[in-house]
Structure formats: C-alpha cells, structure tokens
Amino acid sequence: MPASYRYDGSLAGLLTLYARLLAEPVEVERISATQLDQQSLFSSEISISTDQAVAEEFWQRLTKRLTDNSLKLLRRCLLADHPQQELLLYRYLLLEAEQGRRIDAMLAHPQVAPVWKLARQVGREAHRYLGFVRFQQVQGGLYYAVIRPDHRVLLLIGDHFAERFSDQQWLIHDQRHGEGILYDAGKKEWLLLPMELHEQPEATPQEAQFQQLWRCYFSTLAIPERRNLRLQQGKVPLKVRVCLTEFGRTVSAAD
C-alpha cells in the first residue's frame, strides 16, 4: 500500500528521506514538508527525522553518480516552490536508480517529463529575474532590491549580479521566501541569508530623481499605434510589477 511521508522541510531532511526510501524502494503517495512538532491529522503519515550524516553521505553519492544534466535538473527542482516537487523528484530518482545515465535522454518518460518541466520553469524564472531586479540606492550607499518570485531563484542569480555589480554594495531581498543575498564588494563574495524587513530603508535624494527619469523614459518609449496590453501582461505579469519602478513602485525618499 502506498504510504505518505513527512519531513521537517530542510534540505538535509529531504535527503535523509530519499536515502531511506531509495534503500528499499517503496511506492509513495505523498511527501509533505511540515514541522515535525505539528501533529498531522493523518495518522498514516510516516515521519522521518533528519539525520545530517545520512543526508551528507547520500548527497555525496548522488552528485558523483548523476550526470551534469541530471544534477542541474535536481538543483533547480530543489529550489522550486511547488506542492509536489518532493514526490516528483523521488519518482525521478527511482527511475534513475534503475536506468542510470540513460535517464538523461528519456525526456518524454512520465517520471522524467514533470521534473524536467519544473526545472525549466525554475530556470526560466531565474533568467527573467536577471532583468526584473530593480535596485534603489538607500542611505549609506547600499543598493537594495525587493523581489517576489514564485521559486527560490536567488541562488541561481547571485553569480550574475556579483560579476556585474562587483564594485557596488548590494542586497537582493526575496520577500516571498524570507531570504536574501548580501554582496560584500570588499571581499567580492555573496551570502544567502534568512531575511526579514522591519522598516522600509530610506532612499537617497538622487534615487528619487533617477526613478522619475526612468518612469518618464519608460512611458515615452511605447508606440501608441502598436499598443498591445495583452502581450505586455504576458511578459510582465501583474504580480511582478509591484517590485518594478516603472510600474509605479513609489520611492521612499526622506523628502
């Protein structure tokens, strides 16, 4: 009978779970990530407690065995924010254990296609966020940006911004997932940290001016005869606009 499993929501927890499940492959109906102290209504759920050593050993073995392609797929799916990602990945790993490297080309297989699609969604969103980040200069010279992506894309975009803005102090804050990347221009490195915003940082006066210039430029650029709001909305969904200067996010300058 297929069983349901539960882990604590951490990466180590998930890897522990996979290690246990793959040792003796079983049919799984559901994998949920909940704090273990929360009592589940379903008594049939099996809780797996995190074992750091098991997780690490499993990860080592996995990274050695998987092809670069599969590993990339796996990484992206781990960063996804999808209700079934754990289960989809489990089914993928199950097939991988059976087929080995051949899995790389099995794009249309029902145990591969959904994982591959999810990885693509994450990758695509990460690419889009290379463009959708808007920094504002706040008091103290820090460039601060807020994003609210569907998936946890920060780890995928950190290197790009670190190279591009290597001489400026910046921070990208994913408010949806409560984490952020802080870049240190002195040490030339970035760190992913849990993050929470207590008060809106104060923008510099120069910032307000650039935001005005940018909005003015943006609205001038459209050609009225070609107006196509549907196309625009497909490209810049409304949920993204709250964080974009040109769609009216207001500046929090002192004056």
Binding site: R124, H127, Y143, E163, Q168, T220
Partner: protein
C-alpha cells in the same frame, strides 16, 4: 536642472523609439577591469512597454536635430519640433545611473545628423568612449553608424561598441531616393561592407592573438521600414537573405510603417502592416534557423506572404506530397520543416528517440504544437488523423485554428524565453 534633463530625455527617447532593435545578445563581456557591468550572450530583457516590446537597452538619440529631410522620419528637418541634445558626458551618466539600478543591459545610441556625418559620428564615439574608459563600463553598447561618415570613424565605433548598425530604411534604392533624397544607397551600404570586412579581419587576428581588441563582437544589424513603399514581401525576403549571406548580418529588423508625418509621398493609411511585419519575421526566422531559402517561401507567382497562414505551414501545404513524416526516422533537417515543430522540440525529439521509439503522446510532452503538427506526422506509423487530407481542406482547418488568435506583434527579443545556454546556442545571435 532635473526637469530640464527629464524633458530632454523624453524628447530624445521619443525620437529613438521607432528603431525596433533592442536586443542585447550575442556578446559576452566579462567584468575584468574592476569596473561595472558585464554582457550576457543570451541577452536579457528588463521590462516590456505597453506595446509589448521588450526594453533591454537605454535607447536614445544624442540629438534630434537633423540636416536631413526623410519623409518617414519624425526628426526630419522640416518638422516643427523642439530640438534638444545630450552631451556625451550626460549620456554616459544616464546610462550608468540606470545600469547600476539594473534597469537596462546597456546603451543603444542613435542620433540625428548635425553639421556633418563626421562631426555627428565623433560625438557618438565620444559618448561611448567616456563610458568605456572613464566609467570602465563593460555592459552592452549598440551604436548607430551615420551614413557618410569617414571609414576611420567607423573603425573607431566598432572598437567601443558591441554591435553597430546602419539602417537600410527602404528595401530598394528607388524608394530610398523618393523618400530619403538626402541619403544615397551607397552611403548606407558602404559602411555595412566595411564593417563586414573589419569583423572578418578582426576574427582572424583574434585567432592569432587574444590581445587584439575586439571589433563589434555582436556583429551588425539593420532595419527596414515595411509598408511605406511599394515593395513586395518577396523583394524584402530576398534582400534579407542576401544581407545574411553576403554581409553576415546578425539581424534584419522589420518595422511596420507608422505615419508620423503628413507627406504626399507616403501612403496615408497603410493596411495591416503589423500583421505583415509579423509574417516577415516568421519568414526571417525560417531563413536563419530552419534552413529555408527565400525561393522556397516566395516566388514570382506569389510575391507576398499569406496573411492567414504562417510561412512554414504555407510551404508544407504546397509540398503536401512530402508528408506525413515518421517522427522516429526523419532527419533533424526534415523535422525542422514540420509545422508545429520548432528548433527546441526538434532537438528534444532527436535526443529522446535515442532511448526508444516515440509515440504521439510523447510529442506533446516534448513541446510539439500538435494542433499544427498532427496533420504532418506519424509516430510508430500511427497518425492522429484517420484519413489523409488534401491540401485545400487542410488549409481551411489550419486557418480556422490560426485566426482564432488575435494577430499579435511578434516579440522582438526572444531571449526572454531562453532558459539555458543551450537555447542561446541555437536561437541566439552568436
């Protein structure tokens, strides 16, 4: 001071917006000098305006004053509009300000012609040079070449820019003569030839030594206005084919003619130019990525693209005897010619079928557009269609499906959907 700058920015952006090129792809520049910026070879779109066009570069004119009087141009001499300019330093400052806030990938700098082509070209170069040298800017720069400028200045321009371009504007010299009497076809084509030569030489030199500075690493592009003069699609597509083959252009942009001036030489109300522009882009893609030639798409008997069908489906219907093809056996080149199969799905099919025969269900999962492809493929000998259809009944079926969709402007930069490096290799402008 600030409002003055804002007004000028508005006027100069307004004058530049009819240039459709906004791609920032094809150049990869590392931030190696401790300065600011880098260029990603896939290109990155930062936002989209209300006409659905992507914004990737800060697209502005240095000045909107112009000594020329081209009929179609909003900045022509005889128009009574305020004339303003930015100094090279101001251009650099604006670019850096927007760039550091991640609003843009770089700069697209164009201009009206003041005093002389040489003088104007020097101004542009000065702005770009300030960015590269004083600000150590490594982002993307697209620079317009001024027709008639000295070849030495063209050479300098490519030294600082990632991409350079001269707009052909009109497909034939006759229409150029009529609508842009101050520009000669020669003055436009000459710099294009020179750039092509310099790029070829530069590539060879850089093979010998990596220390040789790059010349226009993202190549050159051009733009044609569609619908302002009487050329057929065939003339335009053949011209593009030649530009790609002979001058190695990275892109030819098509700009649906929008009347901005009252002029008896111009059509008063052009018909359905946006749709036409869209079909031309589709044909252009078929030339560049799908192995089609202009002759296959259009001939003297049918000099214009079918507005109701995309050019690939149109081609397939004229060659219905070649279909259906068995998806598990045909070559990559043949796959590319199946309506509903794109470059990516063709590659996926090739990769996936190594691990076993593909069924029709698999095709959907691989991203094939079955509403078109269903009539043209079999998988393991099976087809979704019970009977084979002749091309006229197929045509009516395919039209019904395609006209439900509202005609839309093709998005001009496809880097938005790039999800990884592989994608950029096949569709990107390398």
């Amino acid at each position: 001071m600030a409002t003055d700058l804002m007004d000028r920015l508005k006027i100069l952006a307004d004058g530049a917006k009819y240039d459709v090129s906004c791609s920032s792809s094809g150049s990869s520049r590392a931030n190696s000098n401790g300065g600011v910026g880098s260029a990603a070879s896939t290109g990155i779109c930062h936002t989209w305006t209300s006409d659905g066009r992507c914004v990737s570069l800060l697209k502005i004119l240095m000045t909107n004053a112009c000594i020329y009087d081209c009929a179609y141009c909003v900045n022509r001499r005889s128009n009574d509009t305020p004339r303003v300019a930015l100094s090279p330093a101001e251009v650099a400052e604006l670019t850096i300000g927007f760039y550091r806030r991640n609003c843009i990938e770089g700069l697209f700098l164009s201009t009206g012609v003041v005093r002389s082509p040489d003088y104007t070209m020097e101004l542009l170069i000065q702005g770009v040079r300030t960015l590269r040298e004083e600000y150590c800017f490594n982002g993307y720069i697209h620079l317009k070449l001024v027709p008639g400028a000295d070849p030495l200045l063209v050479q300098q321009a490519g030294r600082w820019a990632d991409r350079v371009s001269v707009n052909l504007e009109l497909p034939t010299s006759a229409s150029l003569q009529l609508l842009a009497p101050d520009k000669s076809r020669d003055a436009v084509v000459q710099p294009m030839r020179q750039v092509n030569r310099l790029i070829t030489i530069n590539r060879a030199e850089r093979k010998q030594s990596r220390k040789v500075p790059r010349f226009a690493p993202a190549g050159q592009s051009t733009q044609l206005i569609v619908g302002a003069s009487g050329e057929s699609d065939r003339q335009i597509v053949i011209l593009s084919e030649q530009l790609y083959q002979r001058l190695d252009l990275k892109r030819v942009y098509y700009s649906a003619f929008i009347p901005v001036n009252q002029d008896t030489r111009l059509p008063a109300r052009p018909v359905a130019t946006l749709k036409r522009e869209h079909r031309l882009y589709q044909a252009d893609w078929l030339l560049r990525y799908y192995g089609f030639s202009a002759d296959e798409l259009l001939d003297e008997a049918r000099p214009n693209l079918d507005s109701e069908l995309d050019p690939k489906t149109g081609w397939a219907l004229r060659h219905i005897e070649l279909f259906p093809v068995e998806i598990n056996r045909v070559s990559y080149e043949e796959l590319l010619r199946v309506p509903g199969v794109g470059v990516l799905s063709a590659q996926r099919i090739i990769r996936a079928r190594r691990q076993g025969h593909l069924g029709l269900d698999d095709l959907i999962r691989l991203g094939v557009v079955m509403k078109r492809a269903r009539y043209f493929v079999t998988a393991r000998g099976r087809s979704l269609e019970a009977t084979t259809l002749d091309s006229s009944s197929l045509r009516s079926r395919l039209i019904d499906r395609t006209t439900i969709l509202k005609p839309q402007q093709l998005s001009l930069d496809f880097s938005s959907t790039a999800d990884d490096e592989i994608r950029s290799l096949i569709t990107g402008e390398l």
